[in-house]
């Protein structure tokens, strides 16, 4: 019905956060940057979440257009036209929509965790190579 709006709303927030974090990283001291050269910047990792949320929302929005649930005229969502269907739509957004946003975010957190482990291993390998 309109479940894609919840991940899309999250995508707007994460995009703003990404730009703010990227600005902070750009203004960081050069010494801090060189010390963390082997690691990906957090803004890059936020980019993964953005891509999943924006891409997923866009493709799901297309599915809703396909099924006639999103239309190019007001109120744009066919289920928003009457109070009965609007309540059903809001219920679906609160259940399926929120679950979608949560699952994508959890998968992203898993990706960040795995990348953190790989980065730590790489840093440890570089250190041991430098010692020998």
């Amino acid at each position: 019905m309109a479940c894609f709006l919840i991940p899309a709303a999250e995508a707007v927030i994460t995009t703003i956060v990404k730009h703010t974090v990227a600005k902070k990283e750009a203004s960081a001291l050069p010494a801090e940057i060189t010390a963390d050269e082997s690691r990906l910047r957090f803004s890059d990792k936020l980019g993964w979440l953005n891509n999943m949320l924006w891409g997923g929302s866009a493709l799901l929005a297309f599915e809703h257009v396909w099924h006639g649930e999103v239309v190019p005229w007001f109120p744009f969502l066919t289920n928003a036209a009457s109070p009965g269907t609007a309540a059903e739509m809001l219920h679906e957004m609160a259940t399926a929509g929120v679950s979608m946003a949560v699952l994508v975010t959890l998968v992203w957190l898993g990706m960040v965790g795995v990348s953190h482990i790989i980065e730590n291993r790489t840093a440890a390998n570089i250190k041991s190579e430098n010692k020998t």
Binding site: G55, G56, L59, F62, V107
Partner: protein
């Protein structure tokens, strides 16, 4: 079928991303993540549908299956179109810029 088609596209692009030397230049990660994001969202949709329909979920009508397959393929095509737009706008190899400057 939409979930399956999108998940297959996500797996295929991820394999290409892994094997390709030009993964960053070609924004293959962006395409793969777009498909993975959509697949995860459709997975949630499928779980909710399964909770409602139970075993009927696995025996859809042929008409619905064909419609869902067309939708899945259209979704994959739309994803590729979005990726192409990103690629042309970012233009990492300067191909679009060169082509436009030749015309001018």
């Amino acid at each position: 079928m939409t979930l399956l088609t999108c998940a297959i596209a996500a797996i295929a692009v991820t394999i290409i991303w892994y094997l390709s030397e030009k993964r960053k230049e070609m924004y293959l990660g962006t395409l793969a993540l777009m498909y993975w994001g959509a697949s995860l969202m459709w997975l949630v949709d499928a779980i909710f549908e399964y909770a409602e329909l139970h075993e009927e979920y696995f025996t859809p009508a042929i008409e619905d299956m064909i419609n869902d397959t067309y939708l899945g393929l259209s979704v994959v095509a739309l994803g590729l179109c979005i990726w192409l737009v990103i690629l042309f706008v970012k233009d990492p190899r300067g191909v679009v810029r060169k082509a436009l400057s030749r015309k001018a």
